[in-house]
Symmetry: C2
Subunit: 207 residues, 2 copies
């Protein structure tokens, strides 16, 4: 049973819970991030969050529901980060470079090995067998494409002449995809930077 959040003033009746749901969700996401959905057991999640299985079940439901919650959280965080980066002032080239640099830093994080993007690195595999995951990923990609396209459309004089912002927006997302995949296979910072610099050079090419 999912916890009932006290709507108005906080009046918890019984024993207060000894954990922070947002923190636990982040720790569960980190566990999934390392090994993917199928290879992460409830014991792994329990160890990562410090909660035992009944508490996990009470807070988030079963393993699949917990995973979907981490995906949704990652989706909103990723979009918020992108919107923030796209709203920064300065020339388009610098805006894009800063976004990709930030993404690469996240993708290269990880305790033992680089983790890449959480969505690309774990949800893409589940996407074939699970329509729910597939739908979420499709939404995220569409939102990324649209966010990039809107920003590109706002700077037509910094794009190649006659370019279609929509199409270039998809290419901007494609750069994120390749960074996510390559980071998870261990690519170092220099090679990632070379790739997104080349991509930005194509998108922001003025003759």
């Amino acid at each position: 049973m999912v916890q009932k959040e006290p709507s108005g003033s906080a009046k918890p009746r019984g024993r207060p819970r000894g954990y922070d749901p947002a923190t636990a969700l982040r720790q569960a996401r980190d566990a999934f991030w390392r090994n993917g959905f199928s290879a992460t057991s409830l014991d792994d999640l329990s160890a990562a969050t410090g909660l035992n299985r009944p508490s996990l079940y009470g807070a988030f439901g079963d393993k699949k529901a917990l995973y979907m919650a981490t995906l949704q959280r990652s989706r909103t965080e990723m979009l918020a980060g992108l919107e923030l980066g796209l709203s920064a002032p300065g020339p388009l080239r610098e805006v894009l470079l800063a976004i990709y640099a930030g993404a690469s830093a996240i993708y290269r994080s990880g305790s033992e090995a680089q983790r890449g993007c959480f969505l690309i690195g774990t949800a893409v595999t589940e996407s074939v067998a699970d329509p729910e995951v597939r739908k979420l990923l499709d939404q995220v990609f569409g939102e990324l494409d649209a966010a990039f396209a809107a920003r590109l459309a706002a700077s037509p004089d910094e794009l190649p002449p006659g370019a279609d912002p929509q199409a270039l927006g998809s290419m901007a997302t494609a750069i994120l995809h390749t960074l996510a995949v390559r980071a998870r296979t261990g690519a170092d910072e220099a090679s990632l930077r070379a790739i997104y610099e080349a991509g930005v050079g194509l998108i922001c090419a003025r003759p």
Copy 2:
């Protein structure tokens, strides 16, 4: 124990095996392709190949070894297909479009849902926890980059002036990456084509 392949003339002593190892390997790959490594059980593999577990074990070793064999096979097939496509005559633009069209067709195949690229769709997830998989993927990406770069370098007059074939080669691979990921999330043929046409337009842009 792995089967000893008769080296010279075929002199099988005892009962000949009733299956074709190459076919079984392809069927096992299809099973992994759908659900990924961790979510595919030995029962799934047994059903997909028609072999029972002891035969599977005798032919390919344990589950991990079988998966590595499918990865290696996919690697060689993918590289051979790319080299073949790159060696086709005609303008660079047409060569690249044909390659991406062929890749999209493969990525969109699948009985229930589109499967994307086998390596991207299944091995990227395992890459963090498994150095062996990680190394193989890193090799493949490097080989793809190099193959594209070599072909691009052979047509400098079809590239943007002053462009670096090496950097553009990485972008050519990036287009494959985004096609692989988006196909696995259900993108239709038109949207995939729009993406690779935009990408080819950037790579083959003459002012």
